[in-house]
Amino acid sequence: MEVTRRQILGVAASSAAALGLAGCASDAGGRPVAVPVDAAAAERSKAAGAPNLVVILSDDHRADHLGREGTVPFLQTPALDAMAASGLTFNHAYCTTSLCSPSRASFLTGQYASRHGVQNNLSAWIAGTTTVFDGLASAGYRCAYIGKWHMPGDLPDLPGVERFITFTVQEGQGRYIDCPLIIDGVETPRPGTYVTTDLTDYAIAWLAEQDPSTPFCLFLAHKAVHHEFIPPADLLGTYDDVAVTLPDEAFTFQTLLDRNVWEGTAGRLETAYRRYCETLLGLDREIGRLVTSLDDLGFASDTAVFYTSDNGYSWGEHVLTGKRWAYDDNIRLPLIARWPEGIPDPGAVREEPILNIDLAPTLLDLAAVPIPASMQGVSLVPLLRDEPVQWREEIYYEYFEDFPYQVPASRAVRTADYLYIEYDRGLPPELYDTSIDPEQLSNVADDPAYAQTRAELSALLAQLRGEYA
């Protein structure tokens, strides 16, 4: 076989591209793009007394890891606990796909991954996709997106925001220490910084620029508490001496199993878990700082603040370390809302099943912006206001293949009492009776006593797939 010089050069060029070298000279993207204000929409929003909006999105924070839950005796999250005490906690919030990129896109678009197209950490964000910022900006909101974008493909310019601060290093995962930022399209080194603190500083600085007469929306997306689980220096080792209780099926070096090895936790599971909790402690501190700044700036009473995460995380359950499965540890989210003017019963807990795709319509609803038909979520405003509302009884979940993680594509339905999962390949269906097996350890899919339940859930799953996918 004859290899020409042209072929060799072609292979060299594509290899360079594969190594990311070609990207060095390309446009970084990440610029804010102004959206014209619709005067009528802005007037409607003003007349409705629309609140300011703040969304704090963390990464891989599992729902039961809040100090006030008491599930982890040593864990402290005083800021989130205070938020919950003065606001509303959604006890059954779920993501539609338990993976960073799809879930982040769902938060911004109000759509399932099947529709917005970011199905895994490799499928690109489609330029021109409508986000919640389009509607908010057209209603006169000043919007900022600060933090982890982590959608595959080139970093887009983002319509509707006036400030766009993010990072693209390490495939968009960013770094805890010295993470270079892209600030309104300009690559900016940040030596000597801790990313959670740095992003919070930028968020607070942006809040301080806001004029009380113009509503704003701040979307602050943290890298924490994603691996590499690096806490702030002063918190490192805080939990070194506490006793860590792992699930029965877990063991210290399960992190080296094929199913877990790409999750970035290789080594002692207990050590990674302690660092995770310390990183969460550091995140909580920064959330407290942001909420305090809202108070100090006089925005607190008419600002609706939401705290949530993109997905949960397994720490040994099902011998898993990670987040890609349909089990509750992975799909359940912490979701806390704080809105002094709008929440009538501070400290209340809601039990309705909530989805990440509900956030975007909620923000639009709060801003008195019509919710586009393309959004598949439902506004939480009636629940926030404790108004009567007909609510969904089950949630539909989908997961798409994501090389190299050994998790099959799957779909699941979660009802109040059951979790039913179907896989595309590799694994048989799973059915868990969560009323008696909350940890979802005993698969009863082949138990004759559950044959009818399985058939009904399978039919329901097919129906939901038809509606949402």
């Binding site: 063991f251 199993l257 090389f403 590799g426």
Partner: protein, 195 residues
Amino acid sequence: MTPQQAPGRRWLHIAAPAIISVVTYLVLQFAVSRAVGRPATFWSADAYRLSLDALVLLQLGPIMFSGVIVWPVMRARGATRLGAAIGVLATPIAFGIVSALGAMAFFAPAEAVYYGTNPIALGAVGSQVAMSGLGALIAARYRHRRTPSRRSWWSWPAFAAFIIGEIVLVACVIWDGGQHVFYVWIQVYRTLFPA
């Protein structure tokens, strides 16, 4: 007088260290796959954890470190450099193949084959190259002490193998948990298997 060995037996004699390494890995792999997630089949929770941890860590021996024995023993038994190198790399290659076979359940065959070239398999190859160099140096030193000669026991090629292998291991597995190489590997995957 040394009895004459049949060629097959002689080959087996030379290759035995590599075969033992591969078989040890496969047996441990089988044991892990049978025991994982089944604490009830053990007599106590501690026994389950201790056993699984031990099995998983023991696997690292043949995958990562057996070259320190395989190389010098095969060479001492008459293996050529190429033969010994194949012997040393047999276990990490087996590891890559087992990984690829496991990935078949989740990915298309071509993707599963690519999975077998993952950074941990590459790191294992690096580690085994390093261990071979180390093994060669230790064996040379040992021989030199037993039968002193004026020739130096030091081997620059063996030392170079140790250093290069360690660099590969560190890059693929240890430096920031191997994530830099991991992301390159994923980029190559994207190029090979565009969505």
